[in-house]
Structure formats: structure tokens, C-alpha cells
Symmetry: C2
Subunit: 399 residues, 2 copies
């Protein structure tokens, strides 16, 4: 009667959603201030003031029919030109507004790109730990998801595994830096190695292998030494998927873009496929008011100092308590080894301390947990004694 796959996707609650519902119930029982929910990646910092100021200015100054009317399917030309110009300056790669396609956020950027590229029998490679919805999006496009592991110490891709996994059916490698859930950022060396392998394998199989770079956390980095690089500088067949959800704290407004590297062969053909996929999936155009808002605020960020303070506080304390943690260079997640092999059992034990976070199993990485620190700093401060008690329960300090 209905599509069973869609029913399964719509009816099976994600673990994150389960925890969210549990947190609400538990808050009613013992008070919201006593429940420590680190499960959700929802920005906790307001949008920069310029966002609301720009909204008010546009509403006052632009005629309604122009402001709220259709933009072209690929997005308002002025907005695209502005964003492309900023991107070119920042990353040292020349792109134009005609290489950009404005989208309803990161999820749309990914589904549109995946549908644009998909051919029968395709495989798309990701590295665990990976954002769980990648499976939904890749399979939704008709492709097979191939999950490779990462190095347990660095959470960087296992390149030996990558060389073995690439085959005649590989359409793309999908990366996510800064990473959800590990917070790891791919530096120049990592990007160079990855792209060298893709070039070598493209030649070996006589086919193009696309690099899809999902970058919603691109602006969320905390140390001077950390630099985010554009895959376009390293690899022609690269496509950048972006969203302003995290950088401008606008996750509900659904606004981002796809950038097709103009240096790839037949870039205009790939771009046209992106336009076609957006049309087929029902996107029409990205929200018009917010296209102009993000173009005006492109390059700004919400106040990241709060996330940095949270990260430092949490990372330092947890490692001191004996937990093994990946140092998060970016995003707002901390990836921590569970106190026992079964991360779900560990999460249940943590729950007894009123600490809520997500088992790595959901990110294709059992034995670890994700702690989202996009919360109020005060919540972390009050949670630390509970983390300490959890560590003691596992005798982690004694090892």
C-alpha cells in the first residue's frame, strides 16, 4: 500500500531521538537542571546579530514581490556571486557564482549531489565514524554505502583500506571534516594523501571517482594551528556540500549550497545534473529571504568562543578522569572510548548518573560514544562530577 522503505525510515526512531524523548520525561521526574543531555547537535549559541539585522533591513527595503518571489532554481545570482567570491578569496581556488547551487541545507546538498551522480550499481565510500544519515541519503539515491574504518588513535581514514575498497563501481568518496562525531579535521597532508589515492585509482580504473566533501562544521575550529582546506585545491573531481546551520546557528532555516569544482572535466554537465536532481526531488529554489541573509553574513560565525571553552573544559576533565578521548579540532562533538566494549551498555550506565550521550554504534563505530558539547558551559561544569563518578565506576583512573 505504501513504500516500506519510507515507512521504515519514518517510523523507526533514531537513538538520538529516543534519548531526546527520554531526557524530556526524565526532566519532568527530577527537574530539567538535573538531566545532562549531550545527545543533540543543535547549536546553543545565538546567530550573529547581523542575521536578524539583515532580515529586518531586507523586509523594510526590498519590495515584497522581489524579496519573497522565486529566485532562479540555482539561487539568486547576486547571492551566489558574493558567496563564490568569498570562497575564492578564503580558500585560494577560483570559483564563480555559476558553480554554486543554493540548497535547503546540508541534507539537501547531499541528496541532490548523490542523485545527480547516481548510476546503476554505484558504490559510495564513507569512513566510520560517519554521520548516520549518510546511509539514508546514499541508499535513497540508489547507491550502495561502503563503510571503511578509521585509525583508532587519530580517527583519520584508513588509506590502506581505501586502496583495497575502490573498484569499478566506486562513484564517490564522501568525507566530513570537521567530523561528526569525532571532531577531527583533515589537514593538508590527509587531504593530499586522499586525493593522490583518488587520482591513482581513477587512472587505474579509467573512470572518474568524485570526492564529495560535506562541510557543515567548516567554520567551527578552535585552535590557530588548525586549518581547514578546500578539496578543490587538491582534486578536480570534487564537490563541496555546505550549510550555514552550524556556522550561523540557523539549522531550522535550511540554507546552504553545493559548489561544483569548475576545474573538473565537463563541470557544466555535472552542474546541470545537480540542477536536474534538485528539480526532481522537489526543491524548486532555496528559501529566498535566507539566500540573501547568508550572502550578506557569509564569513561571519556565531560566537565560537563558547564552544571552545566547552571543548577545553570537557576534554581536559575527561582525559584527567582516565577516559580516552579524541581531541576535537573542530565541530562541537567529543568522541570518547566507552568504559566497556559495549558502548550501549556504557550509555545505560551513564544514564544512571543522568548523563545522556549517543553510542558510537549509530555512527558505525562501536565501543565509543559521542558527547555533543553545544550546550551551556554551566551544564558541563555541573556534569563533570558525574563523569568523574562514571570513570571511577569503571576504575579508569587506576589503569
Amino acid at each position: 500500500m505504501i513504500n516500506e522503505k519510507m515507512y521504515a525510515l519514518g517510523s523507526k526512531r533514531s537513538s538520538i531521538r529516543e534519548i531526546f524523548e527520554y531526557a524530556k520525561t526524565r526532566a519532568q521526574e527530577i527537574g530539567a537542571e538535573n538531566v545532562f543531555d549531550f545527545s543533540i547537535g543543535n547549536p546553543s549559541v545565538p546567530a550573529p546579530d547581523a542575521v536578524n539585522e539583515t532580515i529586518e533591513k531586507l523586509v523594510k527595503e526590498m519590495p515584497s514581490v522581489a524579496l519573497h518571489g522565486y529566485t532562479s532554481a540555482q539561487g539568486d545570482k547576486t547571492a551566489r556571486d558574493t558567496i563564490a567570491s568569498n570562497y575564492s578569496k578564503r580558500f585560494g581556488v577560483a570559483i564563480s557564482g555559476d558553480d554554486l547551487y543554493m540548497t535547503c541545507g546540508a541534507a539537501a546538498s547531499l541528496t541532490i549531489t548523490l542523485h545527480a551522480l547516481h548510476e546503476e550499481g554505484d558504490e559510495v565510500i564513507v569512513f566510520a565514524p560517519y554521520f548516520a544519515e549518510y546511509k539514508v541519503f546514499v541508499e535513497g539515491s540508489g547507491a550502495k554505502l561502503v563503510v571503511l574504518s578509521s585509525d583508532d588513535k587519530t580517527m583519520l581514514p584508513d588509506f590502506t583500506a581505501l586502496k583495497k575498497a575502490i573498484n569499478q563501481n566506486t562513484k564517490a568518496v564522501l568525507i566530513n571534516s570537521p567530523n561528526n562525531p569525532s571532531g577531527v579535521v583533515y589537514g593538508e597532508d590527509t587531504m593530499q594523501t586522499l586525493c593522490d589515492i583518488l587520482k591513482e585509482k581513477s587512472a587505474e580504473f579509467g573512470k572518474r571517482i568524485f570526492l564529495i566533501s560535506d562541510e557543515p562544521y567548516r567554520e567551527l575550529i578552535y585552535d590557530k594551528k588548525t586549518t581547514v582546506v578546500s578539496p578543490m585545491r587538491y582534486y578536480d573531481d570534487s564537490i563541496v556540500c555546505y550549510s550555514y546551520s552550524k556556522s550561523l546557528s540557523l539549522p531550522g532555516e535550511r540554507i546552504g549550497y553545493i559548489a561544483v569544482n569548475p576545474r573538473m572535466v565537463n563541470a557544466k554537465t555535472v552542474y546541470a545534473s545537480v540542477c536536474g536532481a534538485g528539480r526532481s526531488l522537489g526543491f524548486v529554489c532555496a528559501p529566498a529571504l535566507f539566500q540573501r541573509v547568508v550572502a550578506s553574513c557569509d564569513g561571519m560565525t556565531a560566537d565560537l568562543s563558547i564552544y571552545k571553552r566547552n571543548r577545553d573544559l570537557l576534554y581536559n576533565a575527561l582525559t584527567e578522569y582516565g577516559f580516552t578521548c579524541i581531541y576535537p579540532d573542530g565541530a562541537f562533538y567529543l568522541f570518547m572510548k566507552a568504559g566497556e566494549a559495549d558502548a550501549k551498555a556504557f550509555c545505560e550506565r551513564a544514564k544512571k548518573h543522568e548523563l545522556l550521550f549517543v553510542a558510537g554504534d549509530d555512527f558505525g563505530y562501536p565501543g565509543w560514544v559521542r558527547i555533543a558539547y553545544c550546550v551551556q558551559t554551566e551544564q558541563i561544569e555541573r556534569a563533570l562530577p558525574l563523569f568523574k563518578a562514571l570513570a571511577e565506576e569503571y576504575r579508569l583512573g587506576e589503569k
Copy 2:
């Protein structure tokens, strides 16, 4: 290398787009005031003042993190409850916020619904003339589009053809009232007859046949005698797809909803499939600010008196000149019989008079043309002598 279907959709310019580009070029040659573009269905009337007032109020009063943050995937609960309550009162059918799923506009409403329902081998029936993108959306979901004709005099569905066409593979009938491109509105009798056939055929084939009602023009009606009815009053297996694009003149903001009739068997299962399809296609949630704006402005409309004046002016003049026109009860399109069998040739002749409109071929209805009257009234007034000259060229007044 890429998906050929998506490339075709993205690279093949629609006729409407072709005309739009021609109009721009021609305007540079002879001045914009001398080109009469009736090709595009873009609202020409500003949004009600309440829209921008609500935006300003929300921006001032709601905390940024709450205003611009994620809503639940199906939409903000308060917004859904408000809209559902208004719908129930207006149409005399009880629905709740839990039956509504907020979307990024009508196209998203349709693609999500079609993907939610799709099973291998499905067929979806539409009546010509039909909105051209239905073919893209239906085929994008994997189903086959079956096009049936309408009565040439009334542009209402040919029910004899419908009875013959429904078979074991029919998943849904997709209707559009007020209709793009004919402006025809399905009254009570039409809806009753249609739903009686669907009930009879559902019983005959022992399967459910869904009625998908695409209603972006629902509020655009111009005469007291014209009433718009809810399919939910006539048929349990009905799903309403709505958009605020035309009613509130917000086509660029991408905001609408899907309403699943709670009286259908397993309504919650169908609703869950809708949620799953939205997730799979990459929608996440509808734009958060505008969810609240439309909930607050639900039931209002842009100033429709301008469209009514345009319709009356155009219909009266064109019929007087000898053109055969369908009286448009709603929407902002006038469907007119071409002066010759080949509507495209007729459009080319009209172009010589600087009159631009779209051949019915694009709506599955050759021999007719669509004239979009969502323009400034003054543009119609100045175009009338040109229409008269076109009629005289075909000696229409003399017949």
C-alpha cells in the same frame, strides 16, 4: 559518469524558461514596456502586510536559538495545530496538527507524498491539461504517469476515461483545483463523482487508490458562487498537498504542508511514510521562521482583487475578439484555444505582436495556450489591442 535523467532535467530548458529568456532579450531591443510576457505564474501582488510584520515581531521577540533552530521533522507543533484547527473550521472536516507535515512548498509536498506511497509498478493518473512538473515528480518517484483527457468544453475530467484507465497498478489520482493551466475549479458535484468512482474501483480491485489533491491555488477564487471543497469530506484515502506560495505571495520562501486524512485506514502508517520520504529526500524540516509566519497568517491572502480585475478584463476582451476561452474560476491563468491547430505556431504568430504565452503542449493539451494574468493590470490594458490584432489575423471575429 552522471545520472542521465537528472542531466536531461537540468539541461533541457522548459518552454516557459525559453520564453522568459526571450522576453529579457526582446525587452533590451524594444523596451520592457513593449514586451507583454504572460508566460510565468509568479505572483504580482505583494504579500499581506501581516507577513513582514510577523517576521519583524518574531525576530524581535523570540530567542534566536529557538526561532532559527530545528523544529521537529514534521514541523513546529504549535504551527501545525493552528493550521489544522483553521482547516477543520473552514472545510468542516476534523484534522489535527498530528495529521500535518510541514514542507518546503508544493513541489516538496508532491515529491514527498509520491515517494511515500510508491511501490514497484505503480501508475499515477492525471488529467490533461496538467502542470508540467507532475511528470517530473511522478517519474522521479519511480511511478508511471498516465495522462487522461478532459472535456474540451469544461476542462473537467473525462470520467469515462478514468473508469477505463484505473487498473491493478493505479496507486493514485492526482488532481489540481483550481487548475493550472485552465483555472477550472472542481465543485461539489465533480468531487463527488470522482470520489464515487475511486470508491467503486478500490472495491473492484481490492486495493486502495489514493486521491492526491494539489491545492496551491486554493485561495485564488474570484466569484461568490465558486466554492472550493476539501477532498477529505468525500474520500478517506485522500492527501492534501498545499503551499502558501500563491495565497500569501511567498513562492521563493518554500513553505507549505501535506495533510493526511486521519479517516483513512492506517493513517498513522501513511503519515510515517511521509516522514520517512521527507527524510530520505533530504528535507529535515520546513524553514523554521516561515513555519511560524504562515501559521500566524494562515487564512489571509494577498490582495486578490487585482487578479479578479485582470481576469475579468482579459476574459471579456478575448471572448469579444472571438477567442474561445475557458472561464477561469480560480488561479491566475486563462486557457484559450489557439487560432490554429498548432498552438506552438500560434504562439510564434503572437510573438510577432510582442505577446508571449505558453503552448498547451507543455500541459499535455495541444491546440490551446496558457495566459498567466498575474501581471500589472495596466500591462493587460495595453496588450488588448495586440490581442485584437492577433484575432483579426486569424479572422476570428468573422466566424
